[in-house]
């Protein structure tokens, strides 16, 4: 394929950029790519996050984006699509299979091979801490109009109080 810039030499590099208009691919020869490096206009070489979010969009039907909701932070896949960020660690369980797929796309692998970790043995959880965490979850559930979840949390809080 010829270089998109000079249309003379063979392209050796593909630059992928994305913006509001969508994803653009630019095939460049060595020289034109080098020139872009100098001009500092070169887009980040690869944008895994953008690819990632586009992949979420493509893979999942709109209904699924809303249908499951994380029970801890009330986040949905749509929230993730909009912000590029997950709401909490429990989202990894709620959206496990979608995330496994996407992690594989981004990292080429979905299995952690690094440091193993054993969290410290929790000291007897203080009721006060647990209570304030439950209250935070209750407020979030109410804000998200998750009334069933809110009722469950309210009962749990009542028992503890």
């Amino acid at each position: 394929m010829l270089c998109d810039n000079c249309k003379e030499r063979d392209s050796v590099v593909t630059l992928t950029t994305s913006d509001a208009q969508g994803v653009t691919e630019l095939h460049l020869c060595e020289r034109c790519a080098a020139e872009r490096g100098i001009e500092t206009q070169m887009a980040a070489p690869k944008q895994p996050l953008t690819d990632f979010i586009l992949a979420v969009q493509k893979q999942l039907p709109a209904t699924l984006l809303e249908s499951s909701r994380c029970s801890f932070c009330s986040g949905t896949l749509r929230d993730f699509k909009n912000t590029g960020r997950l709401g909490c660690a429990y989202c990894y369980q709620t959206f496990e299979s979608s995330l496994r797929d996407l992690l594989r796309r981004v990292h080429g692998n979905s299995r952690h091979a690094g440091k193993r970790y054993q969290p410290p043995q929790p000291a007897v959880a203080e009721d006060a801490t647990v209570l304030s965490e439950l209250r935070d979850r209750l407020r979030r559930a109410v804000e998200q109009e998750q009334f069933e979840e809110a009722a469950r949390l309210r009962d749990q809080i009542k028992v503890m109080e």
Binding site: V12, A33, E35, G37, P45, R85, Y92, L103
Partner: protein, 360 residues
Amino acid sequence: MLDLSLLPDGGVSWLDASGEHAGIVLSTRIRLARNLEGFAFPGRARDGERLRVLSRVREAMDAIPSMRSHLLVRVDNIGNEERLLLHERHLVSKELAGLDPQHPVRSGAAVFLGDGMGVMVNEEDHLRLQTLRSGFALSDAFADIERIDGELGARVPFAYHEEFGFLTSCPTNTGTGMRASVLIHLPGLVLTKEIGKTLAGLQQMGLTYRGLYGEGSEVVGNFFQISNQTTLGRPEEEIIDQLMYVLRTVISREEDARRVLLRDAGYIIEDKLWRAYGTLRYARSLSFEEAMNYLSGVRLAVGLKLISGLSVYTLNKLLIFSQSAHLAHAEGKALTESEANLVRARYVRQLLADETGTNG
């Protein structure tokens, strides 16, 4: 009022050019993204949750002898100029400093600062641990970060998943949560137009590059931050070893490119670099980008031994202290852009004159 002189080294010991290959490699940085179990990630958490995260981390830091004396800066309690100052000094990210319009400063945003290390709290993740070393020092920076991670992780429970590893707000960091990066000056490869090939090669090896200020920043003054792209599926040591191997190749290519420049275009290069030096010595107004580009030339001239009597340390200091928030801080008042350009030129002239013992 934020007083950075309270830090053991002003937070800039990484500028001292003491490390390996310091003429080409400014610094080595490794960061780990970690989250606390039982709390929503900072972007989703409520104010109270973020403050509780901060207090849990603070208790843990107090219980670790080597970290007890760290300076805690409540980023949410200081002014915009001071947050900018911390960011210019590479002590906090743009997001933590609330400088990104998409992410205004969050309650509970804080940073613990020690000698060559820092812990950002309530950034994109609850914790961003980082170590910073002068020159090319991946092994040392990794040993430092391992120690900090071990000590903190034994006191606060990190969010961890058997299959996915350490869980992070953005899935691009999941797994090791590690980003190891090297800030490198590559004017030889840029001038010989070999840079495109080198950068494309990096991509094929699973590495990526950014500008001076990390994610989303542009390349100025031929400074590139080269780092690993992926965080899942490979052990930390393997990621570090690979980065080390590739960087050694990049350094040797840069050295080759410099030799080629001198051999094939000796007087042209010499003239160009002396002109850069002349401009810095005598200009009365300098924009930051201009200063960066001329400094890049002078740094190359020092590396090629064309200019003597000028230390890499001084050039590194100029990179940091000629930024707008630093100039305003030194002047003790806010500066318009054109005022900052005048102050910058004066500061650069002064520092170069002090170093070479002449007046500019």
